[in-house]
Symmetry: C2
Subunit: 266 residues, 2 copies
């Protein structure tokens, strides 16, 4: 959708909701209108309707708007995410118990690593990759895995675009990154060392579906000082293989899980 | 919003997305139109626009529609949920490690217990409360806590409506439930025993903000045979108090967390 010129009513509604996509917790009405390229009158009317419907919420004290719980709830039903998350969580819990580092699960989304679940290693390096946030593919362990196994056109598009330097260690030379990605495919895992944030390093491995296609990346993020792949890789690779087996048995590319889940239990 | 007669363009869009709220993974175009009370022509056009924008996704094999990853991502930014989840997760992880039972966090939503996060006890009773799903207040441990501390009008509305019997043990008599809720307030915790699902029992405790207002419920769900409150309550109450302290220090009713979170780290 071209958010700069919403073509239709649905386009305008999507443009308003997209205004929050960058991750801003709250926006003023004028900021929403500016980002959605809507005249104030139109924006005011649509935002009012979305607020009445619970898709947006108005902050009492300052009148700013934020994404509403109702929208969160509808979005949480996205099967491509919820099915994968559902099958991955137990393996991520095991990995957390084994390492107490940050455990993250990411998928490829709009040329970025989109984090669909993560457990936080409280006694590890502080990481605030939040569910729903995305990070660059070239500077994160999970991202390198996704990029290494992405369709060639996606990979080349990322390599052709400017590679943002996040730290002095970020790989910003396309050829150097291309060699690193080849090593990721060869070795079966990716590593970063202070490449996204100084002091944080990671190891990432692919998660495959029944066809062997890489559908996600599982990663551990630890303090650089303790982030030895020789320590992190064995449990990580073990959990990724176990998850891949579960995906092969229960997961469909369209996000459905079979057998269908039993009814909710208290 | 009155989904039976979408008043406006935004209302129609919300009605289409609301069609997925009951938790259906995928719907046909005609099912969406039926639920959204839209003529096929209008529904077809709007669904097409929402699909083009990534808010909906079309299943390749059968042409049904499902919630798109883009909508999931925007929804995941709902601060009322994400802020609470962010602060709760470390405490839920501790509780999981201490008990290996199902750890759940719920808030009050539309007269139901809305589950915003949960960790799965693999070696415990199978529970598929999924993030974003809701369960009845009167038959779940977390729900009883939320109901016991809900505004009187909300509580009376739930007590006045028919109380669904999920098992032979579900409390369906309003007076009996009212007495149980009074005990929940007096004791500081709620219990269920086979009331939602035979074989599963739970203990729930309140999570309070800095004003002492109950803003969420933390619960453990275990096999009825092993669900002894004397075992489950101490770690649960400890984690809930620790989370309440974090909320008092860092959480605002509008969902913001202070101090602001540091930038994303790999």
């Amino acid at each position: 959708m071209d958010a700069r010129r919403p073509p239709t009513a649905a386009g305008k509604v999507m443009a308003i909701l997209d205004a929050f996509a960058p991750g801003d917790v709250r926006l003023t009405l004028s900021e929403i209108c500016r980002r959605a390229c809507l005249p104030p009158s139109t924006g005011h009317r649509l935002v009012g309707e979305l607020t009445a419907g619970g898709f947006l919420e108005r902050t009492p004290d300052d009148g700013t708007y934020r994404i509403g719980t109702r929208l969160w709830r509808i979005g949480s039903r996205a099967p491509a995410v919820s099915g994968l998350r559902e099958l991955a969580l137990p393996h991520m819990e095991d990995l957390y118990e084994a390492t107490h580092d940050n455990v993250q699960l990411a998928v490829l989304g709009d040329g970025r690593a989109l984090f669909v679940e993560r457990l936080r290693g409280r006694r590890s390096v502080p990481v605030v990759t939040r569910v729903g946030s995305d990070l660059p593919l070239h500077a994160t362990g999970a991202g390198k895995v996704l990029l290494a196994h992405a369709p060639a056109d996606v990979r080349e598009a990322v390599l052709a675009a400017p590679l943002t330097r996040h730290t002095g260690s970020t790989l910003t030379d396309p050829d150097e990154l291309r060699r690193d990605l080849a090593a990721v495919r060869r070795r079966g895992y990716a590593t970063t060392r202070d490449e996204m944030t100084v002091g944080a390093s990671s190891v990432g491995v692919p998660v495959r579906d029944r066809d062997g296609t890489v559908v996600a990346a599982l990663s551990l993020v630890a303090r650089t000082r303790g982030a030895d792949p020789r320590r992190l890789l064995p449990p990580l690779a073990t959990a990724a293989r176990a998850l891949s087996r579960d995906l092969a048995a229960h997961w469909h590319a369209d996000g459905d899980i079979t057998p269908p889940l039993p009814p909710d239990a208290d």
